[in-house]
Symmetry: C2
Subunit: 231 residues, 2 copies
DNA sequence: CCCACTTTGTGCGTGCTTTCACAAGCGCGT
DNA sequence: ACGCGCTTGTGAAAGCACGCACAAAGTGGG
């Protein structure tokens, strides 16, 4: 029953492409640090771990930024991708749930290179409130709305226990945050127009386990311990 | 095609389906905890945040475990999915890189419910080696091969700085670990047959930023359709 | 100026994913 | 026993994504 207005798909850059742009960007920045000035699609694709045709098609969605016979100018491409991803502006991030994971994220210095700034840390535990983590004072969850408003937070990160995640998400949304990164192992329910991405360790492990089981003898049992052969 | 060891296809469950099974599993376990005995595809899909037709098709790849007119028996389905994902056996996990993130993972109690067991923590920093984290003694990275062999490690988790990740991955592979979960922001280069999954915070943030920028007035092109307003 | 060589940008075929729509099955009340 | 209502399982269609292969476009040498 989503009576959403027509989805104009707009200037559609395919979602699959968007997901790869950050990888290209990082690869290009590594090249830049090494002083590389231009790079061919073949070389860049190889470094980014993708097919070169796919890379060229991905980049073609941004525009024609390459030079035939030469390749792409690294610096220029870095700028174009950054701009497309919105990294030329400043994004204020709030992290809710300052447990082990929340602290790890807060201290993760290169929080994705530039563009993102951790503006606030919030927790429900009064024993945690007031403590200083990563050069920020941990605030109480009750101040979420004020913090979002005063600090201009536009991205919310949820690292709370599963039980608290939905409530935090709802408060984020009602406070006007439309981008949420969820580390809690629950499916968040949010209104249309709010963008939720989830990072889930146990899901990744389970997918690995599935393939590992298939590689081994499969069946219901564990078969032999890890296969010893490779190559 | 070259000579693939056993069978390349077997009972091909689509990759997209595999990625969703853990979500269904978790949702079912939540229902189970609440005492629910059976669930319809509609209700389960809603709770898992997917379309009910998709859910039914996904489950149909495992077999016909539902009852028409009734739905799915929760407990039975939990078992079937668990078995398919390989969670009925025990997976020994080694975490390399005991920084903030590594510690967070080590302490993350419900490491994805049952099925996974953290068997070892390794680090290159001698100041960290010997310390006790999450009831385990941190070992030195040089013992990786011995630990993998002795503890039967089949899944490696990399939480090192980017610069060290590739070397660790290579050592894992050569030690016989064919499943790697990588948190370091680099593209890992591994031989065929090794399964690498990556979890990358900054990539997720950048994708969120892209969509957020698009929701707003956009940064490069004013392609904003009429009637897009919020608050 | 022309030609050989390099590399981009893309049309097109192929295969995977999602969604729709409905026949087949199952339980229950009568 | 029978039919009604509900729900699964699945063809079929539509939509995406991927990768090949090649024309177009640019560079550099003679």
């Amino acid at each position: 029953m989503t009576s959403r207005p027509p989805r104009p798909r707009e200037r559609g850059i395919p979602e699959a492409t968007v997901a790869r742009l950050p990888v290209y960007l990082r690869t290009l920045q590594a090249l830049q640090d090494r002083g590389t000035l231009t790079v061919s699609s073949e070389a860049l694709a190889s470094a980014a771990g993708v097919n070169s045709a796919k890379l060229r098609k991905d980049l073609s969605h941004l525009g024609s930024y390459g030079t035939r016979g030469v390749g792409y100018e690294v610096e220029y491409l870095v700028y174009q991708i950054s701009r497309e991803l919105g990294l030329t502006q400043d994004w204020a991030v709030a992290i809710v749930g300052i447990g082990n994971l929340g602290r790890a994220l807060a201290n993760y210095g290169g929080f994705g290179t530039r563009g993102f700034r951790i503006a606030a840390l919030l927790d429900a535990d009064t024993a945690m409130v007031g403590r200083r983590v990563a050069s920020l004072d941990v605030g109480h969850i009750d101040t979420l709305e004020a913090v979002v408003r005063d600090k201009g937070v536009s991205i919310g990160v949820i690292t709370t226990p599963a039980a608290a995640a939905q409530a935090v998400a709802t408060r984020f949304v009602e406070a006007g945050v439309a981008s949420i990164l969820n580390f809690a192992p629950v499916v968040l329910n949010v209104p249309d127009g709010v963008d939720v991405r989830k990072v889930d360790l146990s899901i990744e492990l389970q997918i690995l386990a599935f393939h590992a089981q298939r590689r081994n003898g499969d069946g219901g049992r564990g078969a032999e311990p890890a296969g010893l052969e490779l190559t």
